[in-house]
């Protein structure tokens, strides 16, 4: 229950953070809410030699709705996202998913940046970031770069961020046209993490057919992914129950399905298809 010894730095600016990281070495970890990292450290599953606390860096928190997108600072807490009017108005599924993370305490401390950078295989927000085609803004000593969500999650608890980079901002494009979205989650009764979590975005054309479909899936494989076969299957088709159900059969095509005590590969595969149907139907229904 007590982590192995580690050094602790509190950065007041991004420059200070980078300097500390340079001093502390590649194995040092950024810490924001700490709600994923600290439990691992207490169990000594993670033993970083140093933590660099970024909570006091100005400008990394907050939600702004701009013409080109919804911009959320990496240090913004889940609770703030869940209750933000801008978020609810722009992408209700993001507020919805943020409100389903952990419990109240976790949502008050946990941050969107920490959540995405930690890339837990059963975390909710990666599915949403994928479905919304979010852009993740990373800053490092050598500058700033923008990473599309589709290139961000690259392995089990592994992202495209390099060791010295810090995730500073997440941008979500503003929807245009007839768009609806929904996040459907089957929570694990013990952990509350997603056994299956499906974020669906549906856009209908003037002909009433799917113009665009995006499905982000979490909890099913070792990292979150887009159910691209399902998406492709639906574009150009009417949003009927049949079409959706048939396409959802491909919900796990892009991953190796995990299994654990709660859900076998078979049951999880079934749930993934089922929740893809539910999320897509709800997304279609949400179209104004």
């Amino acid at each position: 229950m007590i982590p192995a010894a580690f050094d602790y730095y509190r950065a007041k600016s991004i420059q200070e953070a980078f300097f500390a990281k340079q001093q502390a070495g590649a194995d040092a970890k950024w810490i924001a809410g700490g709600h994923s990292l600290l439990p691992m450290m207490k169990l000594r599953l993670a033993t970083p030699p140093a933590l660099i606390d970024i909570n006091e860096i100005d400008g990394l928190s907050g939600i702004r709705l701009q013409a080109d997108g919804l911009v959320i600072g990496a240090l913004t807490h889940h609770a703030e996202i869940a209750h933000s009017e801008e978020v609810v108005r722009t992408w209700p599924l993001l507020a919805q998913a943020a409100g389903l993370i952990g419990d109240r305490q976790v949502r008050n401390r946990g941050t969107i940046g920490g959540n995405l950078a930690h890339a837990d295989p059963a975390s909710d927000l990666p599915a949403v970031a994928l479905a919304l085609e979010a852009t993740l803004v990373a800053e490092g000593p050598s500058g700033r770069r923008e990473i599309p969500a589709s290139e961000f999650f690259v392995g089990p608890m592994t992202t495209a961020l390099s060791d010295d980079e810090l995730l500073t901002q997440v941008r979500f494009p503003v929807p245009s046209g007839k768009v609806g979205s929904f996040y459907c989650k089957y929570p694990h009764p013990a952990s509350g993490y997603a056994v299956v979590g499906v974020a669906a975005v549906a856009q209908l054309g003037p002909d009433g057919k799917f113009q665009a479909v995006r499905v982000g899936v979490t909890g099913v494989g070792m990292w979150a992914y887009r159910a691209e076969t399902t998406e492709k299957e639906l574009v150009g088709k009417l949003p009927t129950q049949e079409n959706i159900a048939s396409a959802a059969q491909h919900a796990v095509d892009e991953t190796d399905v995990s299994q654990d005590l709660f859900a076998s590969e078979q049951y999880r595969t079934h749930l993934a298809a089922l929740y893809t149907v539910k999320a897509l139907q709800a997304a279609v229904q949400a179209i104004q």
């Binding site: 007590i2 192995a4 089957y186 009764p189 013990a190 005590l261 049951y267």
Partner: protein, 786 residues
């Protein structure tokens, strides 16, 4: 003053507990305190080749490291406190730190004592323990196979006890053989992890000058700990003080005397400094006792028209790697004797093998044996009803022990004290309008809904118990209780009790009893418990005995105080005691309104002792020892309505009705709280909880991330009702209520789920009824589509 007995007085303990002012064992801070951490075996079964503690000892801040070799001959093995008679019970030694062999994952191997907990945990990583892994046995059935490895070399076939009970064998066999209907089932009552909110902790302080040792520890029974600790570490009992301060739940897992209690005491004596050990949640999963874990081969015999003739049970009870303190009594006495439940069943045969395996030791867990028994009879009754095409409720009604048959002698040798079983059933059925509910179920079924209705009528044996019986069944102690009611000169009252409440609310209910009896406001009464230096001897809190036994002792002591106070008041008022009445806190002489004395005046007079009646001793206090003449037998009926989601296999509890009878009720709010908590814990077993080991003896469900304890959001509002049949054998008329919920709710919910699935041809499912398990069954029976 209005009578407090029967009113929902708010819990006196809550302000301190919910504002963070509780004082738990881990809150104890002492000067020069050292911190202990335990190295635990990563293997379920292995020979210890060597343990090198050199590096750990060299770590700055480490004060000492002890291994099994270091304590051999100094710390005696951890004893078992229950030796079941005529059961060929073996007593395999349980060293506080493993000697030569480790026997389960979590078995203690070494203890580090350091200046800080952080250093102690760092040092654990520096200990080099070399093991020769041996083949483990995990499953009780595999453990008794002839070729199975032995957990203890001197326990052949791993059978640590073999107990048989019931009615006459020959007559029973004959009745079984000639029965019209026989319903065979094989149930697995799965292993559970108690998970008290507060993990275990112990702090020991030794005074080398006086030779006195104090142990603060998370216990349900500090006097039992003192007695056993004295034998294990060789400190005489009069120099031992054991304190259970605030204890955050136990559910049976804090009954046992644990190795760590001996180890911190030993270390404190060796080092001359106080030593604290606090368990982590991960350790709690491995090294604190588990509950249940039985394989049950059972048969119910009956007639075609619904009369139960007999029950037969062949049980394999997994005991884990060592026999925990009260463990042998759980799958035997506390289980077998109650097997007939609420029914007049003439023939019962029970055969129990207690089996050692390379798993965490088993102990009592809320209900302890009675849930396992009630599950059998209540599941079988439902299956039997189905077999003979009768409503399960009808079968129950037909077989109930009638209300006019009490006291009733069961075929297992118990005497049920009082009851009206049918009344609780009727009340539960009325609450849901049962006939209409069944019609609605039919209609909804036709629409494709999987709706199930389950009931369970139970009887519990609790209020443990008469000491004579304790002796006869092999419990190595008494089961009476004692209390001291001490009025102070200012008229305020302390009550010292031997029972050890740890969440059950007796600081309130006991104060209600004393306030009523003595005639003081409840604010003037404080209950003292848990500290052997302050309280009289007692056997602790478990088996729903605290109020029926401890409360009775207390009521008797309070009455003695009230009687003496009245005699003193009469003397002060120059009247005969017969003419003095106590009203609204005032002693008054009948017919002489101006002749009054307050309780405070009387208390002060008792202590100044300037003018006492002839022959009266000074002071105002009394003690009482109470040994109950019988157990108490609460009972009731629970009913539950579920709907199963065909797509996910999820069980939705639509309604839950509980009708319980615990005799007279002191505080209905606390009773309801106990009922709610019990229901939730029992449904936890039915639907979500289960300790899962792999075949190497690794606990796969070893954290709160995997082991699903129920959450409030999983449940509907509970509809809680009561009937009140006073207990005839104790002065308060009370029975226990702490365990009824876990006893009743598990079979209630399983019966409801199977009632929902029965039309599909699904007859049984193993607990926990997880969504996956139900979904798989639905798939196999074509029920995943409506």
């Amino acid at each position: 003053m209005p009578t407090l007995f029967g009113t929902p007085v708010r819990r006196k303990e809550d302000p301190r507990l919910i504002t963070g002012h509780g004082n738990y064992t881990d809150d104890i801070r002492l000067p020069d305190l050292l911190y202990a951490a335990i190295l635990r075996s990563p293997y379920a079964h292995a020979r210890i080749r060597s343990i090198d503690v050199g590096k750990a000892r060299a770590l700055p801040g480490v004060v000492a490291v002890f291994t099994g070799a270091d304590i051999a001959g100094k710390v005696a093995p951890i004893p078992t406190g229950w030796i079941v008679p005529e059961a060929d019970q073996k007593l395999p030694p349980h060293p506080a730190l493993a000697q030569e062999k480790v026997r389960y994952v979590g078995d203690g191997v070494a203890m580090v004592v350091a200046e800080s907990r952080a250093v102690a945990e760092d040092a654990l990583e520096q200990i080099e323990a070399d093991y020769e892994p041996l083949t483990p046995v995990v499953d009780a059935e595999q453990a008794i196979a002839p070729s199975a490895p032995l957990v203890h070399e001197d326990v052949p076939n791993n059978v640590v006890l073999h107990w048989q009970a019931g009615s006459d064998v020959a007559t029973a066999q004959q009745a079984f053989a000639s029965a019209e209907v026989a319903v065979h089932r094989r149930f697995k009552n799965q292993r559970l992890v108690p998970n008290a909110m507060e993990p275990r902790a112990s702090v020991a302080q030794y005074n080398p000058g006086s030779g006195e040792l104090t142990l603060w520890t998370t216990s349900q029974n500090p006097h039992i700990v003192r007695l056993l600790l004295s034998g294990v570490i060789g400190v005489p009992e009069q120099k031992l003080r054991v304190v259970a301060p605030d204890v955050g739940g136990g559910f049976g897992s804090k009954i046992p005397f644990y190795p760590e209690e001996a180890l911190v005491s030993f270390a404190a004596m060796q080092l001359g400094r106080p030593v604290k050990w606090t368990e982590t949640r991960s350790e709690n999963f491995l090294a604190t006792t588990h509950g249940r874990d039985q394989i049950q081969d059972v048969v119910l015999y009956g007639t075609k028209d619904g009369k139960i003739v007999g029950v037969e049970a062949n049980i394999l009870a997994n005991m884990g790697a060592y026999l925990s303190t009260a463990a042998p009594g759980v799958p035997t006495i506390l289980f077998g004797l109650i097997l007939p439940g609420a029914y007049a069943i003439p023939h019962v045969r029970i055969d129990v093998k207690g089996v050692l395996t390379n798993t965490t030791p088993i102990e009592a867990y809320r209900g302890a044996g009675r849930p396992e028994a009630t599950f059998i009879i209540e599941r079988l009754v439902d299956e039997y009803a189905h077999e003979i095409d009768m409503d399960p409720v009808e079968v129950r009604r037909k077989n109930f022990i009638p209300a006019d048959a009490f006291p009733y002698n069961t075929s297992t040798g118990l005497t049920y004290d009082s009851g009206n079983y049918e009344l609780t059933l009727r009340k539960a059925l009325d609450a849901v309008d049962y006939t209409q509910l069944r019609q609605r179920q039919e209609k909804l079924r036709k629409q494709g809904h999987l709706i199930g209705i389950g009931t369970c009528s139970y009887v519990e044996i609790c209020g443990l118990g008469p000491s004579k019986v304790a002796g006869a069944v092999g419990f190595q102690g008494g089961l009476w209780e004692s209390a001291i009611v001490r009025v102070h000169p200012s008229g305020k009252v302390n009550v010292y009790v031997g029972v050890s409440p740890h969440g059950q609310g007796e600081e309130t209910t006991f104060a209600q009893i004393v306030a009523d009896t003595v005639g003081v406001p409840i604010e003037d009464v404080s209950i003292v418990h848990g500290d052997t230096a302050a309280i009289p001897m007692g056997w602790g809190t478990y088996g729903s005995r605290t109020t029926p036994v401890g409360g009775s002792a207390l009521a008797l002591a309070a009455q003695k105080v009230a009687d003496k106070a009245k005699r003193l008041a009469a003397h002060l008022l120059e009247a005969s005691p017969d003419d003095v009445v106590m009203q609204d806190g005032l002693f008054q002489v009948k017919g002489v309104p101006q002749a009054q004395a307050t309780f405070q005046q009387v208390a002060l007079a008792a202590y100044t002792a300037w003018d006492l009646p002839e022959g009266e001793e000074p002071g105002l206090e009394a003690s009482s020892f109470y040994d109950p003449p019988n157990f108490v037998y609460p009972f009731g009926t629970h009913l539950c309505v579920v709907e199963i989601d065909r797509e996910t296999g999820n069980v939705h509890i639509l309604r839950y009705v509980a009708v319980d009878d615990c005799g007279r009720v002191i505080n209905p709010m606390i009773v309801e709280g106990q009922v709610h908590g019990g229901i939730v814990q029992g449904i936890g077993q039915a639907l979500w909880e289960g300790a899962v080991y792999d075949d190497q003896g690794q606990l796969l469900s070893g954290s709160m991330m995997d082991y699903a304890l129920p959450k409030a959001s999983f449940f509907p509002r509970f509809e809680v009702y009561r009937t009140e049949t006073p207990a005839p054998f104790n002065p308060l008329g009370v029975k226990g209520i702490g365990e009824t919920g876990t006893i009743a709710s598990t079979p209630t919910v399983v019966n409801a789920v199977l009632d929902a699935l029965r039309p599909l041809g699904i007859e049984d499912l193993e607990m926990p009824l997880t969504p996956q398990r139900i979904w798989q069954a639905l798939q196999q029976h074509g029920g995943d589509r409506s």
